[in-house]
């Protein structure tokens, strides 16, 4: 019951970084509980993946050979079977799109509580999870009753597990019931004529622009600066700019020399896509907006006042 089980995540033949972060979080939890750390890998090149997953601190790797890509039915069956088989009380998964596609069902099937999107935790006779609420405006600590639970961990909060470990690797046989949800393929979105990932300077616009007509103002700024126009999710959701302009977790990851965030609050999904920019400039009315936490330069002000002045400077 003290043991911890982490499930790896892979896509199109490669393990995803969040897997190694979840392993670090899982090791931390296993240490606190005085247990072993098990890693499950389901589908794809399980033998190759098992080798890569053998990082420092991993005690055992269980390879479930089933299918090529993620299938929530197979993942749920494999992880719940393994959790029972090794008597793991805690299951740690990445808080990814696929994690959220089976972790809640897994918790329900195991009859244990679930806490998602952890940014930190303490374990001392019981689990206390740190999470954000109200759009990252506050942090909360959440106590979990009992010592069996499913926990999903936010990407980027734990360092990836490194080194080479001496885990035992074994093929695990699991009965996978037939699924009523079948993956039929993948599709790249966006495309289009502009690749914002290639731009040296990006002017990026967010919800603060309020109306589609106002986009013209930011386009003018991008022109004046010789920059490329990009956007945060709400602008693309509204259909004001095409998907290939979206910066963020579900859009493009960009690393320009200069990133100017105009009216963008800086939700964690957006920040994931642009935090690698050399210089980050933020213009926003809310001084507590998370974008200022990662900005190098900030103007706390109304974009409708500041941007026209800035255009004049470069006109």
């Amino acid at each position: 019951m003290a043991d911890v089980l982490v499930a790896a995540e892979h896509r199109r033949g490669a393990l995803r970084d969040v897997t190694y972060e979840a392993i670090t979080a899982g090791r931390e939890l296993a240490d606190a509980r005085g247990g072993d750390l098990h890693v499950a890998v389901v589908g794809g090149d399980v033998d190759g993946f098992a080798e890569e997953l053998n990082r420092e601190g991993v005690d055992a790797i269980h390879a479930v050979d089933d299918g090529e890509e993620f299938d929530h039915n197979a993942y749920q069956a494999a992880v719940s079977t393994l959790a029972d088989r090794i008597d793991a009380g805690a299951v740690v998964l990445p808080n990814s799109v696929n994690g959220l596609d089976y972790a809640p069902a897994l918790a329900e099937a195991l009859g244990v509580p679930i806490v998602t999107d952890a940014v930190g935790f303490d374990y001392d006779d019981g689990l206390t999870v740190t999470r954000e609420m109200y759009g990252s405006k506050v942090e909360t600590t959440v106590d979990v009753a009992g010592d069996r639970f499913v926990l999903t961990v936010r990407g980027g909060e734990w360092p990836p597990a490194e080194g080479v470990g001496d885990a035992t690797v074994e093929a695990a046989d699991v009965d996978i019931p037939e699924s009523g949800a079948r993956v039929t393929g993948f599709e790249e979105v966006g495309g289009g004529d502009v690749d914002i990932a290639d731009a040296d300077v990006l002017v990026s616009v967010g919800r603060g622009i309020e109306e589609e007509e106002n986009l013209e103002l930011v386009e003018e700024l991008a022109d004046a600066l010789g920059a490329t126009l990009s956007a945060s999710r709400p602008i693309v959701d509204n259909g004001w700019l095409p998907k290939n302009r979206q910066v963020g977790q579900s859009g493009k990851v960009v690393t320009p020399d200069v990133y100017i965030a105009v009216g963008i609050s800086g939700a964690v999904q957006h920040v994931a896509g642009m935090k690698g920019s050399d210089t980050i400039v933020a213009i926003n009315t809310d001084p507590n907006a998370p974008i200022f936490d990662i900005a190098d330069y900030g103007i706390v002000g109304d974009l409708f006042d500041v941007v026209p002045e800035l255009i004049d400077e470069f006109a």
Binding site: V97, A109, Y134, D143, F186, N288, V306, L310
Partner: protein, 262 residues
């Protein structure tokens, strides 16, 4: 085909807010229909308009105040609503399993063929209720759906799931199913004046625990919020002071130093 839409009235904190105990002060919160659920409502109403859905029922867990939010969903075209609340839920933090117990009881009453809901709620951000509900009631599911095409005759929903990094997964989900939807799935409509007037006459059925055949034990939360605080700012940003003209001038210097506009 009957579509059930789970909606939530979410609280949003003002720019300036105070924390009282383990929550934000009531006076600093504003309530609104959860953005993700707005897309779910729109998807359901579009299914009705296309003749695929015969009835769209919304269900929410919330106190009487939440009726304002439900009326919004009704004004946009949902046929009727169920609001679940009970004293036992007052003041506590309902975990995923508690909400699932409530929704399960409503599903037993309504017997929908398709359940739609937002992938997450803007306030708590758990992102778990829909998928956990599917498991409890034995429906198929898909999370983070950003494209939806229901083939009722074949009993299949063809969906796209939005993965990270600009990749979408194409999945066929057998009905009955629970789908949790991502923003951008469609363009949620504004409630028309006519819709708002009609919504006043639509039924909002109130249900408490005993109506649903549940007890307080069924909604006892395994999670307790023990602390709430403002995160420490990690900012080392140079904040450029001054009025719009001055700050824009100073920023222009910084940008020129970085080679912008050269």
């Amino acid at each position: 085909m009957k579509v059930l839409v789970t909606v939530k009235e979410v609280a949003e904190a003002d720019d300036d807010f105070a924390i009282e105990g383990t929550d934000i002060a009531e006076s600093d919160l504003e309530y609104d229909l959860n953005e993700w659920d707005d897309y779910a409502v729109e998807a359901a109403v579009q299914l009705a308009e296309a003749g695929i859905a015969d009835e769209v029922v919304t269900v929410t867990v919330g106190p009487e105040r939440a009726e304002e939010t439900i009326r919004m969903a009704l004004a946009k075209g949902a046929d009727r609503a169920v609001r679940v609340w009970d004293e036992a839920l007052d003041g506590g933090f309902a975990d995923v399993a508690s909400k699932v117990a409530l929704f399960e009881a409503v599903v037993d009453e309504e017997e929908p063929d398709l359940i739609l809901g937002g992938v997450q709620a803007a306030d708590t951000g758990f992102g778990a209720t829909g998928v956990a509900l599917a498991e409890r009631i034995g429906f198929e599911h898909a999370a983070v759906v950003n494209q939806l095409d229901v083939d009722a005759d074949a009993g299949v929903a063809h969906v796209h799931r939005e993965l990270e990094g600009g990749v979408e997964e194409l999945t066929d989900v057998d009905l009955p199913a629970v789908l949790t939807v991502q923003t951008g799935l469609n363009e949620p409509r504004y409630a028309s004046l006519r819709g708002i007037r009609q919504a006043q006459r639509k039924e909002i059925a109130a249900r408490d625990l005993s109506d649903l055949g549940l007890t307080a034990d069924d909604v006892e939360s395994a999670l307790t919020i023990t602390e709430m605080y403002e995160p420490e700012s990690e900012s080392d940003a140079e904040i450029i002071e001054g009025d719009a003209g001055e700050s824009a001038g100073r920023l222009a210097e910084v940008l020129r130093d970085k080679g912008v506009g050269a």
